[in-house]
Amino acid sequence: MMFLATFHWGWLVGAVLLGFAMGWIAVVHRGQGVSKTTARWLSLLVAVLIAVALAHLVPGRFGYWLDLGLMLFAAYLVGCAVGSWLRDWVVSRHVAA
């Protein structure tokens, strides 16, 4: 994992920034979010994919692409979380002021 992180740091930074932007927007976004059921199913899907990746079930290049995708997704989630939290902090300070 360390190897992939060092090898692909550029792509990961990209995913983090993308997540940060999405998280920044999400706080004030008024559109429809995903339903709880869909979110559960999506979580399950991600959990299954992680399990498959850890178990090395997918061979060759597809296996590598799966690993890469999951890492980018993880970076994206981190970016989203940081972005949303920061936006929320900024918004709440503004309201208080």
Binding site: A21, V34, G60, R61, L68
Partner: protein
């Protein structure tokens, strides 16, 4: 925390650009990643000895195939590929190098090349043997057909290196190691090569033994060529040692009193028993020819040329009987055409000239003609044949040593012995008169050895 869940339901639109990012990343990074993993997997194996190593990378999965030379080496090589950072799975297709039983290695020499074949235990020893062969046989093409196998006997390299040195001493032949037994066949390059190889084989590493040594020595050749135009006798080839060399040179000087002896002989071991004796006899026969060549090869004597007259040809053809046991002779003798007849005075001149160059020798104090004088006598016969009408007095003389009566008798007997030789050669007996003068007609002083030697003589006087 609750907020995070609420916001996260709205994070999904970013997944679309993320998917695009993912595709682009996968598209551009796969090939460099595979190349990087392959390079580092290979680097991790650089200290491991493997044959036919092949590494293929598919994504992060490595297919590793190689022939290892031991089970430990095989396991550790797989482990080091597995430990390479970034490698996800290793498909282990390694195996052990096949075991050869018996473990056979060979070096085959022919005129233009040396072929190394069979098995060697490691790539390093394969290279070392090839290099050693190149060094030992400078200029000869070395063909490496050696494979790799397990099961080599201990100290195999040392044994093979020693044998490669021996291949250099062969003209052609084959050396084989089968497990720990060594067999050799072929022909040594030089005389003494066979003996040198046999001596070197004593230094084979412990555990190795010689199963068969069938290296043959090249023929032991001695050649003598009598050239009547240049008036030379050329000796080439080999003699066993310096003392035989000196003895043969002395004999040749006496037998070929008229010719200049060109001595190109070299000393070498490997002569057949009875060599000196056989060569002396054969040189004696050659000395009786007007032109001829002598080739002694191992135990075979080949003599060809022209005898001076019929009876001599007959005697020379009987050379085989004079040779030591086990020797054979191939004699091809023709008879030189008779020379034109000449006047009695010319005959006298020819006799004097010839006897001025060489003297008829006898055994000390006896009337037996020394075999070294056969060539000279044959020439005297030839001259006598050219003046068939002339009567010849054969005069024997001695030096002044000893009693007069004994010297008188000795001189008569010696003169008679020479006359008998001429008669045996086919000349009519009534043409010759053997006379002994004892020491009464010296031609030099009897006070010095040199003078005495000149006084001991046979003269031919045409009457």
């Amino acid at each position: 925390m609750h907020g995070l869940f609420r916001w996260s339901s709205k994070w999904w639109p970013g997944l679309i650009p993320l998917a695009i990012l993912w595709i682009v990343a996968a598209w551009t990074s796969t090939a460099p990643l595979e190349a990087d993993l392959a390079a580092r997997s290979n680097a991790s194996l650089k200290d491991t000895i493997l044959d036919k190593r092949r590494i293929e990378v598919d994504g992060r999965d490595v297919t590793f195939s190689a022939d290892a030379f031991s089970e430990d080496g095989r396991r550790s090589s797989v482990a080091s590929v597995e430990a390479t950072p970034g490698v996800r799975l290793v498909h282990d297709e390694t195996r052990l190098v096949p075991e050869a039983k018996p473990f056979v290695w060979s070096a085959e020499r022919d005129v233009v090349r040396l072929t190394l074949g069979g098995s060697t235990p490691l790539p390093a020893s394969k290279n070392r043997l090839t290099e050693a062969a190149r060094a030992a046989l400078g200029g000869v093409e070395v063909v490496d057909r050696m494979g790799l196998a397990r099961g080599a006997p201990p100290r195999f390299d040392a044994a093979a290196l020693l044998l490669i040195d021996q291949v250099g001493k062969l003209k052609d032949g084959k050396i084989t190691i089968s497990d720990t037994s060594v067999s050799l066949s072929g022909m040594a390059r030089e005389l003494g090569g066979r003996e040198a190889i046999a001596a070197a084989l004593k230094n084979l590493p412990e555990g190795f033994s010689v199963a068969a040594n069938e290296v043959k020595a090249p023929p032991y050749v001695f050649q003598a060529n009598k050239d009547p135009v240049a008036v030379t006798l050329t000796l080439t080839g080999y003699v066993p040692d310096n003392s035989v060399h000196a003895a043969l040179a002395t004999t040749a000087g006496r037998k070929f009193f008229n010719e200049k002896v060109v001595d190109n002989l070299k000393a070498s071991v490997g002569a057949a028993p009875g060599f000196a004796n056989a060569v002396t006899r054969a040189l004696g026969a050659l000395s009786r020819l007007s032109t001829g060549s002598l080739v002694v090869s191992d135990r075979e004597v080949r003599l060809s040329g022209d005898a001076l007259y019929d009876a001599a040809a007959g005697q020379i053809r009987g050379l085989a009987r004079e040779l030591p046991q086990g020797w054979t002779a191939k004699v091809e003798i023709s008879v030189k055409p008779a020379a034109a007849p000449v006047d009695a005075t010319v005959c006298q001149q020819l006799f004097s000239e010839l006897l001025g160059k060489g003297k008829i020798r006898f055994e000390a104090g006896r009337a037996t003609i020394d075999p070294d004088s056969a060539g000279l006598l044959d020439r005297l016969v030839e001259i006598a044949q050219r003046c068939p009408g002339a009567s010849i007095e054969i005069a024997g003389h001695t030096d002044a040593d000893g009693e007069d009566g004994f010297n008188q008798a000795l001189s008569e007997k010696r003169a008679q012995a020479v006359a008998d030789y001429l008669v045996k050669a086919g000349l009519p007996a009534d043409r010759f008169k053997a006379v002994g003068y004892g020491s009464t007609q010296p031609v030099a002083t009897n006070d010095t050895d040199e003078g005495k030697a000149q006084n001991r003589r046979i003269d031919f006087l045409v009457r």
